[in-house]
Amino acid sequence: LAGDPFREDCRNKTYPPSGPTYKGTVPTYIINLDLPPYKRWANVMNDKKTELKKVMQNIKNLVNKFFPGSKIADLVEVKMVHLLSSLPHPFREEIEGIANTSGASLGDVVLFNIFYEIFTV
């Protein structure tokens, strides 16, 4: 403990959550798998479209800061749209539905969905 300024003794009685380490609960939604894939995420994305676009814009800003003047962010967006056509059913259609409902670009939503694969290096 003495050697690590960020380590602390094991906490206890922190539940139910409250205080400075707790920032709130999360909303619950139903995803109806009986709906066509294109429509499944409409309720969620109607509520969260602004937040999604904000995250994606921030990532683009970051890329542009690293590579000023380059067109990397735009190029990736175009490539992501091409990639979409190769994704399996029903995921392809769900992604298209999310982009349509949220108003985010299709390339951004594809990128958001394959972020894990990109970030494992």
Partner: protein, 253 residues
């Protein structure tokens, strides 16, 4: 990330995780936090996937992401995924996919397919262990019977290790962060030992979702990258999710 699967003295299984994300994706000097970590918090949602008005599985997601990082199939199994970093990473899988090799599966789509279609712990374990992936990963799986809990360490093509709960040998919990269990964690990023130490202090007889929340609230298990904490119990598909904050002093990762 830190995932914990553990069994209490009665044989009941608990599964919980801290989801950490946003390393090096911009630092907000004013608020002393990672930019993307903060922006992801309002996107966290709890989802119930239904067919014929019946809940098939539940998950904690980022709105806009259709894959699964934390989920429960009520009465059957619980599943979380932790990031595994490797030189042979997902970018190679994406390249292969673009070049036409498409026998691998995207990580989020596999976990989604497993939660949607697998009806037992064994079936989920087999699919997670045997399906070729585009990126390496750790899958943490809990079942509905005593002893059913494991961490599956995956490369893109193979299963490198399956680490099972083993009550007879005293292994009543498994902790997975972002390192192979047979290797020491990076000395700057040791969340594994603090989590293990806290679980050992709690002892098996005092295990509950509340005490696991204590572990996941202890720094550096809780850190500046922590977006949310999810607590799950397979019985009835119980799940609770809480957004987190790590006040100073707090480890950046």
């Amino acid at each position: 990330c830190t995932s914990i699967v553990a069994e209490d003295k009665t044989g009941k299984l608990y599964h919980a995780r801290n989801l950490d994300f946003g390393l090096f994706l911009g630092w907000d000097i004013k608020n002393s936090s990672w930019t993307i970590t903060q922006l992801l918090k309002p996107l966290v949602v709890a989802l119930a996937f239904q067919r014929n008005n019946k809940t098939i599985f539940k998950s904690t997601n980022f709105a806009g992401y259709i894959g699964m990082l934390s989920g429960v199939r009520p009465g059957a199994f619980t599943l979380t995924m932790n990031e595994r970093f490797s030189i042979d990473g997902g970018y190679l899988g994406i390249l292969e996919w673009i070049l036409g090799r498409r026998d691998g599966m995207w990580m989020g789509f596999l976990t989604r397919a497993v939660l949607e279609n697998s009806t037992s712990y064994e079936e989920a374990k087999e699919k997670l262990a045997k399906t070729r992936l585009l990126a390496p990963a750790y899958f943490i799986l809990g079942g509905n019977k005593p002893g059913q809990g494991c961490v599956i360490t995956r490369s893109r093509a193979a299963t490198l290790d399956i680490w099972d709960l083993d009550i007879k040998q005293g292994t009543w919990f498994l902790v997975e962060t972002n390192y192979d269990r047979w290797k020491p964690p990076l000395f700057l990023d040791n969340r594994r030992d603090p989590a293990k130490q806290c679980l050992n202090q709690i002892k098996q007889e005092n295990l509950s979702l509340a005490t696991i929340y204590d572990v996941l609230s202890t720094k550096p298990v809780l850190n500046k990258l922590t977006v949310y904490t999810t607590l799950m119990a397979v019985d009835g598909g119980h799940t609770e999710t809480y957004l987190r904050e790590c006040p100073e002093p707090c480890c950046p990762w």
